[in-house]
């Protein structure tokens, strides 16, 4: 038996699960596409949070538990600042704030802990999480705030001639997806082609060797935390405009965890693809698998969305621990 067989089996099972509702006629094509799009939209946001994780893990080997708190903090900052200035200015100031935050974290948390156990650094980011959650509320307040992106929230019907009854699409979701895609594309170019991006990849590979050839580690860390902060800000603004800026936003980070496991901790592509798979997967499971379970086992049903991602991540840990796009160890033998 090939060692990839279990992995291939899982992928096939996922694909079958994806097309089954349509193939068996359990759902109307229009509705199916709507669920699919809804899943992709949620997936884009998971991807953005997971992207922050992957960036920091790649460059500094730190598992940044505080990514979710950064999302909340950034969204709070933008929401409150937007009350006093135009939104674009609030976002710019937000970016400055996240960069400053990155600098502070590097100075006060990472630098003193250099070369400690990964678990020590992980615990430190846990501390940063609680600090940011609390500090954010101290500075910005703890109510639910709104971010108005100035777009219509009314869903529009499209493709009426292709599907019976058409498809309901949220215009805002499309803009969000485009922004996320642009951000990801920009980051990919930055990492591949600029000297700083190349240096960041070098640091990710072997930070001591990178240091020995004159790459300033501390500055690299600030850069990567600032980039992760900006990614968090984008995720926070988009998410906040959909659901309102509130404490539960920091819980998104918990959804990003299965995403990075699925995609691979060190991979930017993995974060994107993993996010989309999880987003689509959990929506599909909720809408189409739920009723089946209810009928077959006489369960109460529902709630699949809450655990689906974790079970999927667990399965991936078993069949492919490095994730879909994770780096394999290159070893000379």
């Amino acid at each position: 038996m090939n060692k990839n067989t279990p992995f291939i089996a899982v992928c096939v099972a996922l694909l079958v699960g994806l097309v089954l509702p349509l193939a068996t006629g359990a759902s109307a094509p229009g509705f199916y596409v709507e669920v699919l799009l809804g899943g992709l939209m949620a997936g884009v946001l998971y991807s953005l949070v997971a992207l922050g994780f992957a960036l920091i893990f790649k460059a500094s080997g730190v598992f940044n538990f505080a990514q979710g708190a950064m999302v909340l903090f950034a969204a709070l900052a933008v929401a409150r600042l937007a009350e006093r200035m135009p939104l674009w200015a609030a976002i710019l100031v937000g970016i400055v704030i996240m960069t400053l935050l990155a600098w502070f974290i590097e100075r006060l948390v990472l630098r003193p802990l250099v070369n400690q156990d990964p678990i020590a650094l992980f615990m430190a980011t846990l501390g940063v999480t609680f600090f940011l959650d609390g500090f954010g509320q101290t500075v910005w307040g703890s109510d639910i705030y709104k971010i108005e992106l100035g777009m219509t929230k009314e869903p529009v019907l499209v493709l009426q001639n292709l599907f019976q009854g058409g498809i309901l699409v949220n215009g805002e979701d499309f803009v969000a997806a485009i922004v996320a895609a642009a951000l990801v594309g920009g980051l990919a170019l930055f990492f591949q082609y600029t000297p700083t991006g190349r240096a960041l990849r070098a640091v990710a590979d072997d930070h001591q060797a990178a240091q020995s050839i004159g790459i300033p580690l501390n500055r690299m860390w600030v850069i990567v935390w600032a980039v992760a902060g900006v990614v968090a800000l984008v995720a926070g603004v988009i998410w906040g405009s959909k659901l309102g800026v509130q404490f539960s936003l920091s819980q998104v980070a918990l959804k990003a965890l299965p995403v990075v496991i699925l995609g691979g901790f060190t991979s930017v592509t993995g974060a994107i693809v993993g996010g989309l798979i999880i987003g689509v997967g959990e929506k599909m499971a909720e809408v189409f698998l739920g009723p089946v379970l209810v009928k077959a086992f006489d369960l109460a049903g529902g709630g699949i969305e809450n655990w689906f991602a974790y079970v999927l991540a667990l399965v991936f840990l078993l069949v492919r621990p490095q994730g879909l796009f994770g780096e394999k160890h290159i070893d000379r033998v």
Binding site: P195, R198, A202, Q208, S212, G214, P216
Partner: protein, 271 residues
């Protein structure tokens, strides 16, 4: 010494003591000098302190929880012991670490380009051409991931990468490690070449005493964190003690191993 006194000193290490983890004393007052355009070899067995000395100069000790607790290091007449590795690279001191340490997931060319982080764009492309001139093999392999290249190619990548920062001085740690004898000679030929054509000075740590002394103008022998002997490369190679303990020759020709214990002389130095 008097013959070389006219050549200005590039690097002077003065009585440094290095302690790891606040308790482990590794270097006990090591001093050495590298003159401009010189190749200086640091010789000694495992754990003698060669790598530690290099790391003290390039200030990479922090990562291993080491500290220079006494003594000082001067480069071009100025103290450098407080500078970060990045600042040192900017001033022209770069280290090639033991075991090559190429970025395995980057291509050979990307590896080389990372070395030019401290340099401008124009200098970078000129530097790349220069490295490919010295290492034509790397030009052929420029697009492959360096993790999949051979040991010799990785060593060339590592030296080339250091060269990209336009150094005045390269600290070369165990260039011969894990390489076939023929490749070792090739690497040392390149070192000599760089030394003569590019005027790069080298301080190299090496266990392969034989090759090192063939190419080095001056050598220091370290034992247990002390310099026990130093001298011109040729005179060290002819020294009876060095021959006996490092080069594997004995004064009386071949002997039976049965006699080895009784015949083995004591070293004439204290360590």
């Amino acid at each position: 010494m008097s013959a070389t006194a006219a050549i200005p000193t590039l690097l002077a290490v003065n009585g440094i003591e290095v302690i790891y983890n606040h308790v482990i004393l590794v270097l006990k007052s090591v001093s050495l000098t590298v003159r401009e355009g010189g190749i200086v070899a640091l010789l000694g067995a495992n754990g003698a302190g060669k790598t530690t000395t290099l790391r003290a100069v390039s200030n990479l000790l922090k990562g291993e929880r080491g500290d220079v607790t006494k003594g000082y290091i001067e480069y071009l007449g100025k103290r450098i012991d407080g500078l970060t590795p990045a600042e040192l690279v900017k001033r022209g001191v770069v280290q090639v670490m033991e075991g090559r340490r190429c970025f395995a997931h980057l291509t050979v060319e990307d590896n080389l380009l990372t070395g030019a982080y401290t340099r401008s764009r124009a200098e970078t492309s000129a530097g790349l051409e220069r490295v490919y001139e010295y290492f034509p093999r790397l030009k052929q392999r420029r697009a492959s991931l360096s993790g999949y290249t051979s040991g010799g190619e990785q060593q060339m990548t590592a030296i080339g990468r250091a060269l990209m920062s336009r150094p005045k001085m390269i600290l070369l740690d165990e260039p011969s490690m894990g390489l076939a004898p023929q490749l070792v000679e090739e690497i040392f030929e390149i070192v000599q070449n760089l030394n003569q054509k590019e005027k790069v000075s080298f301080l190299l740590a090496e266990q392969n005493t034989n090759v090192a002394l063939k190419y080095a103008g001056y050598g220091y022998i370290l034992e247990n964190g002390r310099v026990v002997m130093d001298g011109e490369g040729r005179s060290l190679a002819e020294n009876e003690d060095v021959k006996e303990f490092y080069l594997g020759f004995s004064s009386g020709g071949r002997r039976s191993f049965r006699d080895v214990k009784s015949y083995r002389r004591r070293k004439r130095w204290l360590s």
